[in-house]
């Protein structure tokens, strides 16, 4: 999938990864890559502006943590972030169902030919 397509949904994806537990930037991008089966292979640096923006919006909080002698910034989801994630999931689900409904028959036709 193209990076700009992923970027449009980056907030949803990041909130979803961080909702599973505190994570630092490297962990978040690794999880995105693994969970998407390598489909979401963004430039890794793009994740930090998004994390900072989500923190400014109050959807994430962060703190310093030492991990194997390295200082890392750990991000956690806030209650507002959890609510935003739930809302964005609902929107995404409605959107994908709509797209599938429109493309579905054609997709099936395409498979058949």
């Amino acid at each position: 999938m193209r990076a700009d397509q992923v970027r449009g949904h980056l907030d949803l994806l990041l909130l979803s990864v961080v909702a599973d537990g505190p994570a630092h930037g490297y962990g978040v991008i690794s999880a995105l890559r693994e969970r998407s089966g390598g489909e979401f292979d963004l430039p890794e640096g793009t994740v930090y502006p998004a994390l900072h923006r989500l923190e400014r919006a109050g959807l994430l909080v962060s703190r310093w943590a030492d991990e194997s002698g390295r200082r890392r910034r750990l991000y956690e989801i806030t209650p507002d972030g959890t609510a935003a994630l739930a809302a964005q999931r609902r929107d995404w689900q409605a959107f994908t169902e709509g797209v599938r409904a429109v493309l579905g028959p054609r997709l099936r036709e395409g498979h058949a030919t």
Binding site: E44, Y48, H52, R56, R73
Partner: protein, 266 residues
């Protein structure tokens, strides 16, 4: 610090540091995060069997163009119009302070021009200006040995010109000292003004200062030369001296400006 043995990661971080300059705590934190990320990415590449240099190259390439990431970070940590206005105030404060100091530095030069080539080259008195009797009496009180009312006026305005420049220089030093003090103070009442000392990135300040001093230098020097060419001495020396000092200030800001303009874009 960049040196001959700096690898791709160090060079990337140096560039990131430059691009985030002036972004305060948010920029510093971002830099620490990026450094930790790249270190972990390099470790992963090394574990996969890559050489050190190749591991660093891949980690940097995967991270993305430094300008894109830095501008994304700056945009994400920006807090809107209020923050922007505070940065404009801070930039005006700093560049204005430096400008006042530069005016102060022109005082000895203006004084020397007046002493060597005539005070009328500095004073703004127009030839043929009319002075009232009361004004003449007042001017002769300041300069009783002046040969004429016009000479007394020129001597008075010459002294004023030099004195005003010294005052501007001293005020400039105080303005810059206040800026420095507010950034470092632990006193709460003074620290309230700290948001107004959050300057834009250094490269922006340097570009603004170089442009301002360059333009002022050209205008004043041109004005001074033009006046001399048409045989009008009034203020010509003062303008030329100010133009020269502005040119020196411009030359001071030019190397860092050129250095930044020559930096790679990725």
């Amino acid at each position: 610090m960049t040196d001959d043995v700096a690898g791709p990661v160090d060079r990337y971080l140096d560039r990131m540091f430059d691009l985030l300059a002036g972004s305060g705590g948010a920029g510093r934190r971002a830099l620490v995060e990026v450094e930790a990320h790249l270190a972990q990415a390099v470790d992963a590449e090394l574990a996969g069997g890559a050489s050190r240099i190749e591991a660093e190259r891949r980690a940097v390439a995967r991270f993305g163009p430094v300008r894109t990431v830095a501008s994304g970070l700056l945009a994400a940590d920006r807090s809107g119009i209020g923050s922007m206005l505070r940065r404009v105030v801070a930039a005006g404060w700093l560049v204005g302070g430096v400008g006042m100091v530069v005016i102060g530095l022109s005082a000895p030069l203006v004084w020397a021009v007046g002493r060597l080539f005539g005070k009328d080259l500095v004073a703004p008195d127009q030839p043929g200006a009319h002075y009232t009797a009361a004004r003449c009496a007042e001017l002769f009180e300041y300069f009783p040995h002046a040969g004429s009312c016009r000479a007394a006026s020129i001597a008075h305005h010459f002294t004023e010109e030099v004195r005003n420049r010294i005052v501007a220089g001293v005020l400039g030093v105080l303005v810059l000292a206040a800026f420095w003090l507010i950034r470092r103070t632990r006193r709460r009442w003074l620290a309230r003004f700290r948001p107004f000392t959050q300057v834009p990135p250094t490269r922006v300040l340097v570009a603004v200062a170089a442009t301002a001093f360059g333009v002022v230098s050209i205008l004043l020097t041109g004005q001074g030369l033009d006046a001399l060419m048409i045989g009008q001495r009034t203020s010509a020396g003062a303008n030329l001296a100010s133009g020269l000092v502005s040119a020196v200030a411009f030359a001071t800001f030019l190397p860092p400006l050129v250095r930044d303009l020559r930096l790679p874009t990725t």
